[in-house]
């Protein structure tokens, strides 16, 4: 019974720690554009609990994490936010996604702080998001 009890304990710990990503809101802006407005849009949206925003060259990438039950509408939310960004920054290549891949990768880019990498990685992420299926 020893092993079984440890297993159950392990599972419970996994379950309890599962939903505690404390990223909050992060913004990195290497351009002249005003990033504050975009940040405000993200922070003011009650459905979004975490977001990372990266503005570099002519590209903008936002990775969103929405509240649990808003996940059913996460694509609509991302589209709404994207449309608002497009009005704010005409002429920029904008990618907004609530996909955790975008969130994780953008967060990683920001934490690594290697600016030479930005353009290449951002292009790749935009391409991934556009991929169908």
């Amino acid at each position: 019974m020893g092993i079984r009890n440890w297993l159950i304990l392990g599972i419970i710990i996994c379950l309890l720690t599962g939903c505690s990503s404390k990223v909050g809101f992060k913004t990195v802006n290497t351009t002249e554009e005003d990033g504050k407005q975009a940040e405000a849009i993200l922070e003011d949206d009650p459905r979004i609990k975490n977001a990372v925003l990266l503005i570099h060259d002519d590209r903008l990438i936002a990775g969103l994490r929405v509240n649990t039950f808003d996940r059913f509408r996460k694509r609509t939310i991302a589209k709404e936010v994207g449309d608002q960004f497009k009005e704010l920054y005409p002429g920029m290549d904008i990618t907004v996604s609530a996909d955790s891949k975008v969130f994780l990768e953008t967060n990683k880019l920001i934490e690594q702080q290697n600016k030479d990498n930005y353009t290449k990685k951002m292009k790749k992420l935009s391409k991934l998001v556009k991929e169908e299926t």
């Binding site: 379950l15 955790s100 891949k101 975008v102 991934l128 299926t133």
Partner: protein
């Protein structure tokens, strides 16, 4: 003794299935299978170029692979006796149905045995899965055309 009376007697003496226990077991084990699936998906998202949307394909393939191994080692059957719907509903149940049929008919050769019988259980899942997807898509298309909802 007539049929009706005997059926009543049979109902009295046959132990009732433990519905509550079965539901609970299915809930826990089904959830556990999905938890493993979530980890696999996370693995593909973190280490490969998959997004949440595209990771579902390799995740499904991996889960079926796990089910295949467990079926081959004879573990899945024992797991299913305890788990019930918890093992049948996730994709692993589909994998188990395919692989168990394939193993069973290995002795009749690869073409008429394995090939011909592999989907004898899972075939209906595929048929009615495709059909219900078609029906749902049809309903949604009509609703979109009528302007009730949008894509």
């Amino acid at each position: 003794m007539d049929e009706k009376k005997y059926q009543q007697l049979e109902q009295q003496l046959t132990p009732k299935p433990a519905y509550l226990k079965n539901c609970l077991a299915a809930f826990i084990t089904g959830g556990f299978v999905c938890l493993i699936g979530q980890f696999v998906a996370l693995f593909y998202i973190t280490f490969f170029d998959f997004t949440e949307r595209t990771a579902s394909n390799p995740t499904v393939a991996t889960m079926i692979f796990f089910a295949m191994l467990l079926t081959g080692f004879g573990v899945y059957k024992k797991f299913a006796q305890f788990a019930g719907a918890g093992s049948a509903v996730p994709i692993t149940g589909f994998g188990n149905a395919v692989v168990s049929s394939a193993i069973e008919h290995r002795s009749e050769g690869y073409v008429l045995g394995v090939g011909g019988n592999m989907f004898k259980l899972a075939g209906s899942v595929i048929l009615y899965g495709v059909f219900s997807a078609f029906a749902v898509a049809l309903i949604k298309s009509i609703l979109v055309a009528l302007g009730v909802i949008s894509w």
